[in-house]
Symmetry: C2
DNA sequence: TTAGATGCAAAGACTTTGCGCACTT
DNA sequence: AAGTGCGCAAAGTCTTTGCATCTAA
């Protein structure tokens, strides 16, 4: 079992190895990410960070997230239309997002294995399953649409 | 062979059937879309439209595109990071976009058939291959990355 | 005639940037 | 002491909206 403190220290170690400074704001951002353990928009992260330390500006949040991402500490993803979401690296998964209602669904990555191989061999393209959500229509919205437009 | 005028008239007919008014601005937008025959951002469309008729505001462009989309005349897609792109409906295809350089690649839709079936049967999710580009790394950027970071 | 369409300007959502001071190293 | 990082405010990008005017039907 890895404690929260140990995970925080791992992050701070990565920062030091990257020749970055360990600041109060970075500790707060790292702590919030560890505690939340889910997707957070920059704004949600900002709100949670402010509870722990007033006067953290959102520009600082964005700068810290950018730095964390360049060091491989976090990744971000674009789900539906709204703001990007961030979370700790290491649990990348694919997302489906419904164009109608905006709901998002995390799905097992293996569904994309065959597609990834095909795109690589046909186009030299390396699929990133995590970064951008796959768009479509979710189960409930499809049912609604079918009821509303029974002719098609 | 369908002439440009005939295609324009088809669009105007769809407008009338939708109980919408046929205005000068809509004619211009339709003409630009027909002539361009490629992806255009709202801003590119705006610039091309202004050549044909001064004083078309970009809000009008957005409103017309929204109307055209609701009538099935155009579709829009989100490629990399930037603005959405619009084009006439009927030639939907999948897009790959490179997270590094922003290049986009149109690919045959059949690559996504198997994935579409799997997502539908596993999650009831209806894949929309066209709306959002699939993200990843293109051939050239991958090669550059490998040269830059030969250790991994 | 009259409901819908347009132009203009302003607002809105999300993110980035410039600048001078504070804090880490 | 040196220089990175921070807060604040402003700017930037893309898109939507309010409102008065105009116009297609």
């Amino acid at each position: 079992m890895v404690t929260a403190d140990e995970r925080l220290n791992e992050i701070l170690t990565v920062l030091r190895r990257g020749a970055k400074r360990v600041t109060a704001a970075k500790r707060v951002v790292a702590t919030v990410l560890l505690e939340a353990d889910r997707h957070l928009t920059a704004e949600e992260l900002s709100i949670l960070a402010l509870r722990r330390q007033p006067d953290i500006s959102s520009s600082t949040i964005y700068r810290i997230l950018e730095e964390f991402e360049s060091l491989g500490i976090v990744v971000h993803a674009h789900l539906g239309q709204g703001a990007a979401v961030f979370h700790l690296a290491g649990s990348e998964h694919a997302h489906l997002t419904c164009d109608e209602c905006g709901a998002t669904l995390e799905v097992a990555a293996h569904h994309f294995d065959a597609l990834g191989r095909e795109l690589y061999s046909s186009y030299g393209f390396t699929l990133n399953r995590h970064h951008v959500a796959i768009s479509g229509t979710c189960d409930s919205c499809r049912e609604i649409t079918q009821k509303t437009l029974p002719n098609s």
